[in-house]
């Protein structure tokens, strides 16, 4: 039995809270007005496997269309997988009906990207945060519910008087805090944070990231942190999984991914992130990828990255590379590294 791992927040655990095995999510492409036939499939998530240890933060990065949001949604069963398994505390969620899932949903929550569209504009902040409490009957009386909402507002750094306000009266950063309070309402173990700071101004982003880290420590939370901003992901994650066109191309610890990236896509992605320092920028290696991300309806054969890959050979267009552990705890899907 391997030694228990100490994660950044001091929580020691080797237990896999979440495990994803062979996950596939294909969306049908339909043609026709009166009758519709399937003419193709958008392979949004195409055979993805990874695990998340209790207490850690797994960062899931990639550019638009790579499948990271769909992966997060499939884990929570907001979208149902086409194939594969999602284990939460050793139970396979994909085999469960909605009624069976409902009590488990208390333990897994989500914070959405857009603080403007993820809050119902016709409900007060108090109603928004109180809704999950009521639905899951977590409070005995109205009074208890209001007290809990006030406490949650304080926890996320907002004044309890905000409960009376409507979303349009709050700033983006404040709304995102409300989204976080709502996610915490049921005392979850696991939270999927789907680009929680992308829509916010830079100076507010830092506040929210600090808040998420504090809450993780305080409530022993496990996070799947989905983002495209590599600097932010590096800050908050223990391990990072990199996705491209529906596949995971690399998974490793934070230190390994940033200091020793192996997959050519990861290296190009890191090279593309500008650093706020002209002196440092002048010295960096620049790996500018040619071409565009192909459509997930028609992904390239073999390794999906091969058309844009600087080190691809003919074999790469034929064989789909397996995610292999090339160093302890460092997995890469590329036979050429």
């Amino acid at each position: 039995m391997a030694n228990p791992r100490i994660t950044s927040n001091g929580y020691a655990s080797n237990e896999h809270l979440v495990e994803v095995r062979g996950l596939r999510k294909y969306f049908p492409v339909l043609r026709g007005v009166v009758t519709q036939r399937v003419v193709g499939w958008v392979k949004a998530v195409d055979d993805v496997s990874f695990f998340i240890r209790r207490g850690e933060t797994l960062g899931l990065v990639g550019e638009s269309g790579c499948g990271k949001t769909t992966t997060g949604r499939c884990i929570l069963q907001l979208d149902r997988a086409t194939e594969g398994e999602v284990l939460f505390e050793d139970q396979d969620l994909t085999r469960m009906a909605d009624a069976e899932l409902r009590p488990l949903r208390r333990r897994m929550q989500i914070v959405f990207q857009d603080p403007y569209s993820s809050l119902n504009p016709r409900m007060t902040i108090g109603q928004i945060i109180g809704e999950p409490i009521r639905v899951h009957r977590m409070a005995e009386t109205d009074r208890d519910c209001r007290d809990r909402v006030a406490e949650l507002l304080r926890v996320v750094g907002l004044s309890p008087i905000m409960a009376e306000r409507y979303p349009h009266e709050l700033s983006g950063g404040q709304r995102q805090r409300v989204g976080i309070a709502r996610a915490l309402a049921l005392e979850p173990r696991f939270i999927v944070c789907d680009e929680p700071v992308s829509a916010l101004d830079v100076s507010i982003q830092a506040q929210i990231i600090n808040l998420l880290e504090d809450l993780q420590e305080r409530f022993s939370l496990t996070y799947l942190f989905i983002a495209h901003d590599l600097s932010v992901v590096r800050h908050i994650s223990d391990r990072i999984a990199v996705m491209y066109l529906g596949k995971v191309v690399e998974i490793a610890s934070r230190a390994e991914v940033y200091e020793n990236p192996l997959h050519p896509y990861t290296r190009a992605l890191l090279s593309a992130v500008p650093v706020p320092d002209p002196a440092a920028e002048a010295q960096r290696e620049r790996l500018v990828l040619k071409g565009e991300v192909p459509s997930p309806v028609n992904p390239p054969s073999g390794c999906v990255f091969h058309p844009r890959c600087p080190i691809a050979v003919e074999e790469c267009s034929r064989a789909v590379p397996e995610l292999t552990e090339v160093k302890p705890d460092h997995w890469v899907a590329c036979p050429r590294v």
Binding site: E63, S64, S171, G173, D201, V202, S203, I204, Q205, A206, Q207, I209, N210, E213, H228, L230, S231, V232, R234, H235, R254, Y258, A268, L269, L270, S271, A272, V273, P274, V275, P276, D277, P278, A279, A280, E281, R284, R286, V288, L289, E292, V293
Partner: protein, 326 residues
């Protein structure tokens, strides 16, 4: 030698139900020929409105430019008639907007949108315009340009559409391009491509670029000069090297400290600026940043600091600029 663009004390105000919003409040700066200047700040600081003021596209009737001068190649743009400014807009001064999907007309082909600009400025006949459009698409790196001319915007990816915007901006040989968040809506690897392209084209054709953004990283890589805006004013101005190595305003310092950096060891905690930007219709007396400022002294709440020289070509609007930590 006079600069290509000289902005002097421009004020653009909006009349709203809350009161007067001072979106741009006494902004002055120069852009030299061929230079890449960056205007940096967060939402609501006035950077987009500054660009729109230069080409006189401030939304009417709520907004209007109430004061100042904008000299372009010696002419004051604010005193020109509507037909005169229309000749300059899109030709000598071009603008690239933030969202490529909403800036391109969805019911016109790409080809038509480029040739329309060329024909409007009387630069080409119809046949010549089509050839030129194809040439421009090739210049901005779009493969198979002749075929692409008949495509509609929705058939192109975000990166491609932004390249089309750049092609349109370049079509009439501008001297200055205003690029408002040109890459924010794009993925990081495409951002890198687009910025490299803009840099190359700027050098090749001697076009001055004014990049408006909130991304400090983009600015570091591509700008010669950086100006930081807050609540409608420029609060710091310096070369790109200077502003990162030696920021002399608490807001700039705060921004740089709150952003996680890829090239530095991971800090345990980010150092965010507390509070939020002020409402532009009820600015505090004195320095607008004072309520959030770690270094504020009594004078800050009473009198707004002027933008003054604190180093060689380095300007800062801060009473305590000299004593800030490095």
């Amino acid at each position: 030698m006079a600069a290509l663009l000289e902005v002097r004390n421009v004020r653009t105000y909006f009349h709203t139900s809350h009161g007067v919003v001072k979106a741009v409040d006494g902004v002055s700066f120069d852009v030299r020929e061929g230079e890449t200047a960056a205007l940096v700040g967060e939402s609501g600081c006035g950077k987009t409105m500054t660009a729109l003021s230069i080409i006189r596209l401030v939304p009417k009737p709520q907004g209007s430019i109430v004061g100042g001068e904008i000299h372009f190649e010696g002419r004051n743009l604010l005193t020109l008639s509507e037909p005169e400014i229309r000749q300059i807009r899109g030709a000598d001064i071009a603008m690239i907007f933030q969202e490529p999907m909403t800036s391109l007309n969805p019911v016109l082909t790409i080809g038509r949108q480029i040739t329309e600009t060329l024909e409007a400025h009387g630069l080409s006949s119809k046949e010549e315009a089509r050839e030129r459009a194809s040439e421009l698409l090739r210049l901005v790196g779009i493969p198979d340009p002749d075929r692409r001319l008949s495509d509609y915007p929705h058939q192109l990816s975000g990166g491609m559409r932004q390249r089309v915007m750049i092609a349109i901006a370049l079509s009439c040989n501008p001297k200055l391009i205003l690029a408002d968040e040109p890459t924010t809506a794009l993925d990081v690897t495409i951002q890198a491509q687009i910025l490299e392209l803009m840099g190359q084209l700027s050098r090749k054709f001697g076009v001055a670029l004014m990049i408006i953004t909130h991304n400090l990283g983009v600015v570091a890589r591509y700008a010669d000069r950086v100006r930081v805006m807050y609540a409608g004013k420029i609060i710091e101005s310096a070369s790109a090297q200077e502003i990162y190595r030696n920021p002399r305003h608490p807001y700039t310092l705060g921004l740089l400290r709150s952003v996680p950096r890829l090239d530095q060891p991971r800090k345990a905690k980010l150092d965010p600026i507390k509070g939020q930007p002020p409402d532009l219709w009820s600015l505090p007396q004195g320095c607008s940043f004072a309520p959030r400022c770690k270094f504020a002294v009594e004078k800050c709440a009473q009198e707004a600091p002027p933008l003054r020289e604190v180093g060689n070509g380095h300007l800062s609007a801060c009473w305590v600029a000299e004593t800030l930590p490095r």
